[in-house]
Amino acid sequence: MLTPVVIILKICENNLKKLVIFLFGGKGVNRRQFIKRALYGAGGTAVAISGFGALTKAAPKPALATATNEETTVFSSCEMCRNQCPVAVKVVDGKVSKIEGNPNDSGFGGVICARGNSGPSMLYDPQRLKKPMIRTGERGSGKYKEVSWDEAYTYIAEKVKELQQKYGGESVAFASRKGPHDWFFRAIGKGIGSPNIFSHEATCPMTRSVALHSMFGSEAIAADYGNAKYIVSVGRNWLEGIHVAQTRSIMKAIDNGAKIVVLDPRFSVTASKGEWIPIKGATDLAFVMAMANVIIADGTYDKDFIERYTSGFDKWQVEVKDKTPEWAEKETGIPKDTIIRIAREFVKHSPKAILDFGWRTGITPNDYQLRRAIMFVNMMMGNFEVPGGYYHKKYAAVLKKFPEMSSYAKTLGDIYQPAFPKPSTYRIDGTGIKGIPGQLIPEGDGAVSQIPESILTGQPYPIKGWFVHRFNPVISVTESDRIIEALKKLDLLVVCDIYMTDTAMFADVILPECSYLERYDKVFDMSGKTPKYVLRQPAVELVYPDTKPSWQIYKELAVKMGLGHYFPYEDMEEFISRQLAPAGLTLDYMKQKGVWTPEGMKPFYIRANDHTASLDDIVHRTDSKIEFYSEEVEEATKQGIPKYEQYPQPQEGEFRFVQGKVAVHTNAGTANVPVLNELMPENSLWINQESANKLGIREGEDIIISNGKYEHKGKAKVTQGIRPDTVFCYHGFGRISPGLKRAYGKGINGNKLINNVIGEVGNVCTSMSFVTVKKA
């Protein structure tokens, strides 16, 4: 280590040398000092180049001593989307050669999707982030310098301290794509006393979670698609929004003769497998209420189930009394006879019938009421805890309550963290405050769209710093330009990611995470009809040696911030072993299998053999009843029973703008992944043939889409597969970060054209914007 005096002398020496070179053109100066020193060291003998060199001297070895071409298998879990399917990673000579599904997991059947297959191309992508970086130019200018991890941590720690002193810990928000990293990431936020910790869920399934919680007191409700005989999708598209286990179950159901009905303004791949109902946008609740109306009028609902297990049905009956098929026909554009037929078919196949509660929900401001109504119709038919209906997930804590099942329950251990400081104020989104809609927002998720609002408006108080982990609000949250405007106003933006995302490009500090193929994560609970734990472990050494796993990044940052005590573990092997020990499992076992599920346990449905079996152990509302009418919802939104709200429809010349998932990409996450980018580099705007004709637009032509405030260029896909009043594009394209070189500027970023309307329970509203389209 150089002393200050030596440093001053060195600066003087160097500047003097430069001055001499400047004045005399270098003549007469010993010009090879530096090179010689670097090459030969002080003693003049050849040594490895210190300072800036990468090679070191070693004993010579045969060139290919380590190449064996032998294939080994590492069981781990995928992270190309958040479903985290168990995988078998094939490794040859220290390199990932291929990824397959983990054959030890029957639910997934040894299968993965195209995105899962593309993992190696991301692992070895030259466009990944490789070193921590600190911004040196204007935000968004792309001017950065690489720094050591220690410099990055020091910079962050100092800035956070400043913000804490000036504005309080609550002025720093934290947002991540929900996942096993949250235990570590969130500890930083909680440690500084910030209440403003968010997941991405408000941009995805949060209204469903709110609905389930309001009815069952639990979000852990799932659908048994594989055994269903009749499945109605309300915009869900299992064959493009892939979840391997669920997609396989849907295919199994179809193979077994199940009928699929799809309500969607667009003819999706799933719709092509069944009956397509091209419903008018934002009117799904009318359809669902009319189904309830038909079933009640027919008297075909499961009276015993309602009596035994539910409360508040009478209020629902009143609410849907006038929601007749005739009324719904006017709202939805679907003929009343079709509505009646579908309702009756649904009844006929119940309890092996599923009116699906959706995945990426958040279509309208009151979307949570749609999700509740959907589950009401299912509960009216008693489609719960029986094969082919809905069920509560059977994780260890649930199984323990059933004596005949308790032997299968193995509980994972918690890693103890000392108590975090209590935040000194409420959250910016009102989450958890009684008497307002925030009362219903899940505390672990929050309304992430509120962060940019608070940055820009200072309401209810200003947000000055934002930590973002593996999340890309510029593309994932609606009204991209507004998000960018907000990012530019921040005092501190820290982004941890694998790529230079559209959000990372505005960051002050960028922390490069290594990929899921190079790291451990916390063991996760993926229990469904049986308990299941899944391991993620490194398949290969770090490709870019200066990237790190999130558990290490946040632990090291915490130490720098004086929060190290919240990370009471040495490394992840220790962490995972402590998680597994109470379950009687070991890291070695998990490494060998990748997954644990109790041997010999069959799927467990509480009412499979006894339709009167108690549900008290899984329903956690008043008197253990599934609630149609909810006091809590009434208190929060004055709508204890869902009410139909009529939303505007597009005027002549306008289109409702909707988006959806595609099978070969994951939302805002994979547009730049080499193989996936090759498969689908850009999207286009689906427009109905008749509408396109009126506008003189032909297939493949350049177009301009406008919502009155923002414009976006794109290409037209002219098709019969969409309603004439609706246009559609796949989500996740039109990327603005030059750091995503393959994806940069290709296609349409739908969220640029969707206004940042925050729904009643904090959700984004994806289908509430209208656009015009013209030839470019």
């Binding site: 040398k17 430069k18 090459l39 800036f52 990468a54 030259p126 970086m133 230079m500 750091g739």
Partner: protein
């Protein structure tokens, strides 16, 4: 002869490694070396000298180098990916066969990628650094073999991209390296 080759290789390695304070601080020395040893480089030297004068202080100079290094080699436009595998393997990814082959070559000559400043084996700067070490040890046969089989095919692909980037220091250094290693070959053809 070996010494001169070693110094030249090392000077280019210094430039194409991630910006380093010592290299930034001694940029003038590298320019001097090229001017002296590669006379045809003169025309490219001027812009580099101007650059040195524009950023006399090492910190400013370092930041200015980062400003160009990152979009040129690291993230952003990545105008010239610095890893050989990306050019030689069909899928355009790092750590392909070429990386393993050069790693093997390093090993056979008694070199490993070090622990402290780890880098992929087929990074342009690592290959140049390796040749500097071979030259300094007088391992001429291995040097020629590595040049022919690995470095030159790589330079033919990557240098035009760096030159095209028109980034001060980097594109001029690439041009000078091209003159030294590739143009001299053409003359002899």
């Amino acid at each position: 002869m070996n010494e001169k080759t070693a110094e030249l290789y090392l000077s280019f390695a210094g430039i194409f490694h991630r910006p380093h304070p010592e290299v930034a601080d001694n940029l003038e020395e590298l320019i001097e070396l090229w001017q002296e040893e590669i006379p045809e480089s003169k025309v490219y030297i001027k812009e580099m000298e101007d650059y040195c004068q524009e950023y006399p202080l090492v910190d400013n100079r370092l930041n200015a180098l980062w400003e160009h290094y990152i979009p040129l080699f690291e993230v952003g436009d990545i105008e010239a990916v610095p890893y050989a595998s990306v050019y030689f393997d069909d899928n355009g990814l790092v750590l392909g066969r070429e990386a393993e082959e050069v790693r093997g070559f390093y090993r056979s000559c008694g070199y490993e990628i070090g622990n402290e400043r780890q880098e992929l084996p087929d990074h342009l700067a690592v290959e140049l650094e390796f040749l500097a070490l071979l030259a300094s040890e007088g391992k001429i046969q291995q040097l020629l073999e590595f040049e022919e089989n690995h470095l030159k095919p790589f330079l033919r692909l990557v240098l035009p991209l760096i030159i095209k980037s028109k980034r001060p220091v980097y594109s001029n250094a690439a041009k000078i390296l091209e003159i030294w290693k590739l143009n001299s070959d053409r003359k002899g053809d």
